[in-house]
Symmetry: none
Subunit: 425 residues, 2 copies
């Protein structure tokens, strides 16, 4: 099989001004990696003919496939086709079928201007990709051993055209498939994971594994290349099993985006209700869960008890008790979880109280958080010391991760209070 190296060349001054994020390059890269086609470079260049020409010349020298995004529109700025056709010595010719479709399309629009027909001028002999989400068609051609694919810039149009037209086009080039799984880890940092799998990472060629740091957790990506998806999965199975065994309890899920998603999946298999009483996290732990569709089946509700008064009035905790123990304390976290569980009559409830900073309470260091989980069979509390150098946002997110880690452990019958140390990432 020939190895194809790809460069994605995104065209548009708005990208260089930071007005938009280059999601096209990400989307295309993800799709290409699934097809087993390497991506070597992403380049972004503005709507400047000379710099575009230079970028095309460079891409020809270092890639077999050049995929451009953007610059196919009707205005004078839209130079991609002009520059690419010129670079490969091709003429632009009007595509009759696309012209007719455009005529139909624009009869729906009040704002038709003649320059729209610039969009149907395409390199002679190219494969035309019709745009089902917008007006500018895309296209592909092969010249001097290089495959050139031009796609529109708007992410929706780019993504749809890639899936509908480019994947079938590229499948004819490659006979390999790439499959990846990610093992999500909480309680070990990227460097510890790297250390743990150093030998495998150095010796393995296919499948491969690589660790990535996320904001408050990390992941190990395991990837195989094979002739078919089934074969790739077959190659991945023993590696995934070995990785998960070695990491044990630190694994909170595979192929999930975050810890609350792993908890939601566990709840879908083993339905339990829960509630959240939050002080320093101020609603964030609830907000993370309710961002997921389907959350309402399991989360009955929560209380943001930012003040002692709210803890007393909404949860029914005795004011004296709060004042004598201090709001940030193990007994108050425990009481928040137990009272919350009683108020909404749930299977599980979480209580979180701590100092997210920058101000302190004169007793505890900023970064001290108590996270409690109450259930029928007991209440567990983790005491976290993240240190005052952490940001407010990190402290809140990490506290939430510990809450979800405790729920996950309770749901899977693991020691709930375990993994209590706050890992550094």
């Amino acid at each position: 099989m020939r190895e194809y190296n790809t460069e994605i060349l995104s065209v548009g001054t708005e990208l260089l001004l930071g007005h938009v994020t280059n999601t096209d390059a990400r989307d295309i890269s993800e799709e290409l990696s699934r097809l087993g086609i390497n991506v070597r470079y992403h380049t972004v260049v503005g709507d400047n003919p000379q710099r575009m020409r230079d970028c095309v010349a460079l891409a020809r020298s270092r890639a077999d496939i050049i995929i451009t995004t953007g610059g196919l529109g009707p205005t004078v700025d839209d130079l991609t086709k002009v520059v690419l056709a010129e670079s490969f010595g091709l003429k632009l010719v009007e595509n009759q079928a696309e012209r007719e479709q455009m005529y139909e399309y624009i009869t729906y629009s009040n704002h038709f201007t003649e320059n729209n027909y610039n969009q149907v001028m395409l390199p002679e002999g190219c494969t035309v990709f019709h745009n089902n989400c917008g007006t500018a068609p895309g296209c592909a051609f092969e010249a001097d051993g290089t495959i050139v694919i031009m796609l529109p810039g708007p992410p929706k149009e780019c993504r749809a055209m890639f899936r509908e037209s480019v994947i079938p086009y590229l499948r004819t080039l490659s006979d390999k498939v790439i499959v990846s799984h990610s093992v999500r880890i909480f309680g070990l940092g990227e460097s510890a994971v790297d250390d743990l799998f150093a030998a495998e990472m150095n010796s393995m060629r296919n499948p491969t594994m690589a660790p990535y740091a996320k904001e408050c957790d990390c992941l190990l990506q395991v990837t195989a290349k094979a002739d078919s998806e089934a074969e790739a999965e077959e190659m991945l199975r023993p590696v995934m099993a070995q990785v998960c065994e070695k990491l044990g309890d630190y694994v909170y899920g595979t192929d999930v985006e975050c810890m609350e998603e792993a908890v939601l999946q566990l709840l879908q298999k083993n339905p339990k209700t829960f509630a959240l009483a939050e002080s320093c996290t101020g609603g964030e732990v609830a907000a993370r869960f309710t961002e997921l569709p389907g959350a309402s089946e399991f989360l009955k509700g929560g209380a943001v008890t930012y003040t002692n008064e709210a803890k007393a009035v909404m949860l029914g905790i005795d004011r004296q008790f709060i004042e004598s123990n201090l709001a940030v304390s193990e007994p108050v976290a425990r009481a928040m979880a137990e009272h919350m569980r009683a108020v909404l009559n749930t299977d599980l409830a979480v209580g979180i109280t701590g100092l997210a900073g920058p101000g302190g309470d004169g007793v505890h260091e900023v970064g001290t958080v108590f996270v409690a989980l109450a259930a029928e069979n007991g209440t567990w509390v983790r005491e976290l010391h993240m240190g005052p150098q952490r940001t407010r946002s990190f402290i809140r997110r990490m506290a939430g991760n510990h809450a979800y880690d405790m729920i996950r452990r309770w749901l899977t019958g693991k020691e709930v209070a375990g993994n209590r140390s706050c890992p550094a990432f």
Copy 2:
């Protein structure tokens, strides 16, 4: 003043595999454009020493400033400093101050591994940027007429370091001072703002103005270049006054990051307490406010009443009343706000109920949200129809913006229910 051209070189195979989006390049580009520094290219390359070397050589040939992101971590993949130092003929030396800070940082972690110290090996003579959000320090040096700036890859760390350290560093390169103010706008989209100020934008050279779209609001950036900060401010004053007058009530603040920050500033001048009862936003509106230091003086607490049971138990709303009106309705939003205000005895309280999707209630379209504000002098409700094509996350965020917009209007004596239409962006 010398014109600087910049190339942003992002390093990381995860970008080429499409696992993550290159938001760093966008963030940095936006900040540089505010500083009046040109960005000519974005390049993404994998963790491969030879390809990185080639990219660095190319960037040296076409840019005056090279900003790298990523590859500063502790693992063998993290090659950015090694390659850049080698390209410019510099040695990497251990930075004692950073080593000591790292030692302190990691005493909070159980999982320290020796490879963490790789991160404090920095090019000799460089300016060190301490990382306040993570472990890997960044740095800058100037060699052979090129300025090299290396930043960590995780977006939070990259953004914070850019603002805290890189902006002051870049300011020293220019003998002109650039000052920007941003006028934050809620209720008008970027294109409407663009339309409103088209004449000024075309005719003005210094100060300049430019609109930017944010997720659920937009801003107009007004920028002046002068010999001193005082002079730039003097040039900006009349323009800012004119812009704010023209936009009127749509302006919710200047030089703030978000609507909740504008509300916090108003509360600091005119102290009032408030509380939040959230259904479809699930704690997010509280979480946004409590993310700000100082929030606890004004937000007494809140209830996440995701289920009818929670609305009844935690807020004391009659179950019959909820069932006969439907949970998503004007009367229930009103009752949530009024009951919440009574429960925590606050000056103001918000009630939010709606359908964030993807599932509906069989009566309302997804994207329908009722936002109520209760105060001593009345209760106001906005009925929003954002449409089912919006994402869950957009609907939740926009609902929160309306809540803060209503609080802002109440605090400043403006018509509270005004601006009720959901703007399209």
